[in-house]
Every structure is written in structure tokens, then in C-alpha cells.
Symmetry: C3
Subunit: 324 residues, 3 copies
């Protein structure tokens, strides 16, 4: 986006009854990107909408911060501050300007021709109807099926196998990963905000990071993070029809059977096994070496080494005792 557009954008925000809190000439600021407080650098625009991000606020390098009237006092006077009735929402609108694909499952229609692919990616094995956008890195000994879509800025490691009908977006796929047919990796997450009966989509500019040796089953879906990332640790295996929501972190050597679902922002340790059709609520912490029985519903944090089953999930021994 050019700087003219960005100025328009800031004026748009200010014109919506938002208030420019300090006196800096906003027209002279060249805004380079929009992100969270932690990732912001000089010339970033960010937002501060909850007291719990105070420590991040203190360290942020963002030049412009959108906030609410009640929270403005916490922000350094060196920053340009925009006061909004809905800082999250106004920030989301900014995102839409910077990252127009962050709300939708869109392709850019800017893809390499087959000849360009052959020239740039020598020795790459790929099938029919391959759609590859620009600026993708692909390693050695990679094997790609038919009808595969890989969107811009993805990184694919060495010895990766990608089945047919697979879609990969905003993702880093490390060495020796196997993605089975029909999987969708890096789709925008499921986030909305209803304000006065109008729905606003939450942007998703995060990534999916799949570490070495993982396997993703057929027709499974892994959503990318909203601002942060969705992460799978090394040698983690997901079976078919599994759902992994935005900003989930999964550790190493985990095995999740078919139709498991992990809700948004949950963190899971290493060596965790989850039986088929089990589900884990959002924003939970699941420890290391945890075993969760098939069809369980986990709605609380789980400590290391626990074995759980049931809905709501309980210690396995109790489940057996209660269901004699």
C-alpha cells in the first residue's frame, strides 16, 4: 500500500468520531505495517484494548496506537494515540487495508506458469493443475500431487510429500512433513465480532508452522493464527478430518486420531495422545505426556502425565468407576 492510501486510512479512523489524542502531525507519519504491540516496530500501527497487555505496551515500538478513552493514560506521550469507541474493531479495519487477504480464502490470481515452475524449481515433482504463487521456497525431494495450491510466501522444506487437492497458505512446512489428500493448511481462522447486530470478521495474518516430520491426515483443516501463529511440533501426527483452530500450539510427538478438534488458542505439550472424536476447548493448557481417551471433551487445563476420559473429561480411573 502506498503512503497516500495509509494517510487516507488514518483520516478515515479519525473521521469516525475518533480522537487524535496528542498533537503530533499524523500526516507526516509513514505507516509501514499493522500488528500487535509485541511485534510492532517503528512506524507500525497497533492497538491497546485490554489492561492485560500492559507489559507489552510498555515495551512496544509502535508509532501509532489505537486505544479507548479509559486506557489512554497508560500510553507514553511519545506515541501517536487514536482514541476509539471500539479499538479492536478499528484496528481490524486497518488490517483490511494492509492485508486484504487476511479475511478470506482468496487466491491472488498471480501464479507461476508451468514453465516458470520448471525453470525455478528444478527437479520438483508435481502433478496436474499445480497453482503456485510467487515467492514460495521449496526444498529438495519434494513430491506434490494434483490440484495443489500453494500461496505466496509459503516455505516448504526438504523431502516433503503433499498429496492431491491440498491447499497451503501462510504456512511454513518443515522437512519430512507429509500432508495427505484434501487437507487445508493455513486457512483464515473463525473469528467474528457482532456490534449492534453488524458482524465484523477478525483478520488472520498469522501463519501455520508445521515442524519436521509431522503428518496431516486427509480433509483435515488447520487454521492460521490471527496475529500469532498456529504451531505443530516435530513428529506430530494428525489423522483424517481433524480440526485445529487458530493460534493453537501443539508440541512434539503428539498423535491425534481422526475427527479430533482443538479450539482456538489452546496450548498442548509434548507426547500427548488424543483418541478419535475428542475435543478440547479453547484457551486451555494441556501438559506433557497427557493421554485423552476417544470422544472425551476437555474443558479444563490438564497437568502433565494425566490420563483422562469422558465428557467432561475426568481421570481415567474415575471414568471407569463411574461407568461400571
Amino acid at each position: 500500500m502506498n503512503s497516500e492510501k495509509k494517510k487516507y486510512l488514518l483520516h478515515f479512523l479519525l473521521n469516525k468520531n475518533n480522537i487524535l489524542f496528542n498533537k503530533k502531525k499524523i500526516d507526516n507519519i509513514f505507516i509501514k505495517n499493522a500488528t500487535d504491540l509485541e511485534k510492532s516496530k517503528k512506524n507500525s500501527i497497533s492497538f491497546f484494548s485490554s489492561f492485560k497487555y500492559l507489559s507489552q505496551l510498555k515495551k512496544t515500538k509502535a508509532s501509532v496506537i489505537i486505544t479507548s478513552d479509559g486506557l489512554k493514560k497508560y500510553i507514553s506521550k511519545k506515541k501517536i494515540i487514536i482514541i476509539s469507541k471500539n479499538p479492536d474493531l478499528d484496528f481490524a479495519k486497518i488490517f483490511c487495508f494492509f492485508y486484504p487477504h487476511s479475511y478470506f480464502s482468496k487466491i491472488s490470481y498471480k501464479n507461476l506458469s508451468i514453465n516458470e515452475i520448471k525453470k525455478k524449481y528444478k527437479n520438483l515433482n508435481f502433478g496436474l493443475n499445480f497453482y503456485l504463487e510467487y515467492n514460495v521456497k521449496i526444498g529438495k525431494d519434494v513430491h506434490i500431487g494434483n490440484n495443489v495450491i500453494i500461496k505466496e510466501n509459503c516455505i516448504i522444506g526438504n523431502n516433503v510429500v503433499i498429496g492431491s487437492n491440498v491447499i497451503i497458505e501462510n504456512s511454513i512446512i518443515d522437512d519430512n512433513v507429509h500432508i495427505c489428500d484434501g487437507a487445508v493448511i493455513g486457512k483464515k481462522g473463525f473469528g467474528f465480532k457482532f456490534i449492534d447486530d453488524v458482524c465484523y470478521r477478525i483478520p488472520h495474518i498469522g501463519r501455520v508452522i508445521i515442524n519436521k516430520g509431522c503428518e496431516i491426515g486427509s480433509n483435515s483443516v488447520i487454521d492460521r493464527g490471527s496475529i500469532g501463529d498456529t504451531i505443530l511440533g516435530e513428529d506430530t501426527f494428525l489423522d483424517n478430518l481433524v480440526h485445529v483452530a487458530h493460534n493453537v500450539h501443539i508440541g512434539k510427538r503428539c498423535v491425534f486420531a481422526a475427527q479430533v478438534g482443538i479450539a482456538g488458542s489452546t496450548k498442548i505439550g509434548n507426547n500427548v495422545t488424543i483418541g478419535g472424536q475428542a475435543g478440547i476447548s479453547g484457551h486451555l493448557n494441556i501438559g506433557n505426556n497427557v493421554k485423552i481417551g476417544g470422544k472425551s471433551g476437555v474443558i479444563k487445563n490438564v497437568k502433565d502425565n494425566e490420563i483422562l476420559m469422558g465428557y467432561p473429561a475426568q481421570p481415567f480411573r474415575e471414568f471407569v468407576k463411574n461407568n461400571k
Copy 2:
């Protein structure tokens, strides 16, 4: 189908030990279509197989009605009546003649060339390998991914985003809808009848109607209605891997998390939120403003404003109390 075929069809029914109840010369009737009593017009053929459709029977304009011996007395003598041992099944066979695609996930192989698409749909954004059948309306600012299939008679509104690998059939998609990668919209529903160990598929000629502003997640499937329609109200959002069966009606501003399943013919009100992996049985009524917790199994009707969780689903407070 020409009228000769249709005569054959009626004779076929009559030859199967069915009885033509009144004396009208069936050969002189030109049957135009086959549908339910409510939608029938003059020259429609329909069926009456259950007393609960009596009020529809009284108003129907159908010229020919298939029924059972026990129910024939309720039908006006002005109609041509065919008495069958299995009126539903014989009607289903009629359907198969009129709508040969009503039983299968078939394409017609009659699609526009890329040049025809570009000529007819100016300014349409579409990706590789687009398969578009005839007689489809597509609005402005529509954005279509790769490998998309849109079958005949669909209507796509303005500002619609359709991801890649999406299949749309028998559907009306209104403005501002976003269909994510891999979703299947308008597939025939799951209906069978076993009679004497022989299986007969139930036809599905209904539609899927997705109203303004909805979003459908990746790899989700929405079946079309058998005779009526499957309907999503405005601004309703479905996450990934969701299943919506035939003839389900969902209201406005509903949010269903991943892997939710709604069985056939269930009606759901407005502002209903359903957590991940929850399921709702068929033929139920769920009120407005209902909240259903993740993984719940709903097997009874639910009144407005209720908050439920568990399997079977119970009021949330009881669920918490019972699971301390």
C-alpha cells in the same frame, strides 16, 4: 422429458399392481413436473402418504396424486388418483425420470468454455480449471478460486468470495457470502428406504439457500433439501468440517463452531451459538438466542434463550452441578 416418456412413466406405475382409482383417461394428461402437494400446479404429479399433510392436500393443484388405499377417500374426485402399496417409493421413481440428477453427485458435462465465461461474466475473478454450467447468475465483485464447480441454475450474489475446490449445486448464494476452500454446498441429502432388503434412494430436488453475509468453513458440507430447501439466515457463520443435513433451517446471526452436525429437517432460530463438535438430532425445533456448549448432544426441542450443555443436553447450571 417428452410427453411420451411421461405416459410410459404413468403406465409403468399402473402396471406395478397399482390401481387407477377414478375413471379419467390418464393418457390425455400431460404431466409437467413432480413435486410436493404444496408446490404442485396444474399438471403436476404429487403424492399423499400421511394424514398430517391433509391441509396441504385440500389446497393442492396437482392433477395426479399417488396415495395408498387407506388414504384415497380424502382426495377430491376431480384428481387422477393412483393407488400404490408404497406411494412414497413410487413417487420417488417418478422423480428419477423428471430429475435424473436428483439422486447423485453428478455433473452434466455441459459447461461453458473459458471464453464463454469471460464473455458472459465480464469482470468476474476466477481461478484455474473453473467448471461452470449453463444458466448460472453471478453478481458483481465476485471472487472465485481454483477448481471451483458451479452447476446449472445456481444464483451467486454480489461481493461473494468462493474459495478453491468448492462445489456448488442447486443453490442460491446471496450477497457478501464467503465460502471457504473445499466446502460442498447443495449435495443431495442422505435419504434411503429399504423395502424387502432392496434400497431405494430418496430424491433431492430442493435447494440450499444461503442468505446475505454468511460464511461456510473449509471442508464443510451442506446438503440440499429433498423437496423443500435447506436455509441459512443472514450473517450466520459455520466453521470448518460442519455438516448441515437436508431441509435444515438455520436463522440469522448464528455461529456454529467446527465439526458441528445438524441432522435433517431441524429448525434453528436466530442468534444461536453452538460449540465445537456439538450435534443436534433431526426434526427438532431450537429457539432464538439459544447457546449450546461444545460437544453437547441435543435430542429434544429447545426453547428461546436456553443455555444447554452435555449429552444429552441439559441446562448449563445442571451440567455444572452434575459434573462437579
Copy 3:
């Protein structure tokens, strides 16, 4: 694989601290294939790693058998015996040489051109972007959608309907079967072994056998067997988003609603109906005429004619009584 490679393979095994138990000159053996004890013929290599396969061991025609030190005494001295610390794993490695595609969702990139398809399969109905490998048999009146992938050695019967975006591998599809859009049939199963924190994939060279008149719903996934087969009996119907794991056997006239999951190696009788989102654990036996309610979790064997519901599944009457 030529015999030179196979010799290399055996030496590879022997060099890994494995012991050649009897004195036969292994160099003179020409190994033709690798399979289980039951399917082995002369010049097969197989493995014996558990006492429960003793009866198969007694009848096997395999020329070479990999086993553990403790089990070697049960094997006839006429066989060439290789003693391994991990006979399963060493056998799995052998597989990888014989069947390089048994671990991955790969295509071979060896497919017929459209002209070859038209010439060889006269009157076949097929859509855009059809990928068909060599050595596939296809019957009469077959109807194939767009973007379909059928890999080598598959057999497709008469009057089969295959929707769009369907992938079929290692499968036999009998007459009158209908496979809906987006289904993945014959994918490798989900099997791993972690030894000393290193993960080894279990090979899958079995097939999926779908008998006459079945229907498979959209985006459902059926994994092929590891060595044996995954089997669906005649007139069995699966709805959308169903998962059938490796080596599952399902009988005739079964109806499984959407999002059902069957874990590996479970055997299910005839006329079994399963409600939506229900799951069945692995290695179970489910009798004939069983009815399992929606969302149930079955974790024990089930006798003929039982009606179950709940998690864990219990007799339907008890479920109702317990949930008043």
C-alpha cells in the same frame, strides 16, 4: 525391484545386528514380495512377531521370516529365519523397498493422456482434469466428475457414479456404487511406531473393497488396510464427513449418519445403523442388526440386535432411565 536390490535389502537387515538363524545361503534366494504369513507364497518374505499368529505360521509358505529371538523356536528349520530386535519394524522397512507408495498419499505421475483414456475406455463419462493411472479397470455406464484421481490397479464396476474432487487408490469399487464429491478412498491408514523417540510409519498395502450398491458421502475418508483390507458390504451407506479407519470391516445394508468415526480393525455386522457423530473404538466386534444412537461412544463389543446409546454406550432403555 530387481533381485540385486532385494539382496541388498536382506543384507541391510542382516547388517543391522540382526542374525541369520539357519545356514541357508540367503544370496541364492530371489525374494518376490513381502506380505503377511497368510498371504505369503514361495519366495515371499514375512514376519512373525506375536504368538497369536502361530496357526498362520504353521501354514505359511513364506521362504524368509523375520522374527525375534524368543519366537524363533516355533519356526520350521526349512525357512530362512532372520532374528531382529524389532521384527515389525524391520519388516516395515522391507515393505518400503517393495511398495514405495505404501507410506504416503503419492501419485505416480504415470497417467494416461485424455486421448489414451478415450481410446481405452470407450463411452466412459468423465469431467475436466481427470487423472487416471495405468492398469485400472472401469465398467460400463460409469459417470466420473471433475478433478477425479484414480490410481493404478483400481477396479471400478458398472454403473458407478463418482462425484468431483474424489481420490481413489488401492481400491475395488463394485457395481452401482456412488461416491460423493470430495471423498478420499483408499488413503494409507494412520499407523506409527515410536522407538527411542524416532517415529516409523506403518506401511499400508491393503485395499478398500466397496461392494455393490454402497454410497459414500462428501468429504468422507476411508483408509485402506495395512496388510489386509478395509471392506464395506453391499448396500451400505455412509453420510458426509465419515471416517473409516484401516482394516475396518462393515457388513451389508448398514447406514452410518454424518461424522461417524470407526477406529481401526473393528468388525461390524449387517443391518447396523449408527447415528450422527457416534464413534466406535478400534478392534471391536459389533453384531448384526445393532442400532447405535447419535453421538454414542462404543468401547466394548456389541451382540446382535442390541440398541445402544450414550458415552460410554449403554442399552437404550438404561440411557433413557439414567437421563430422565
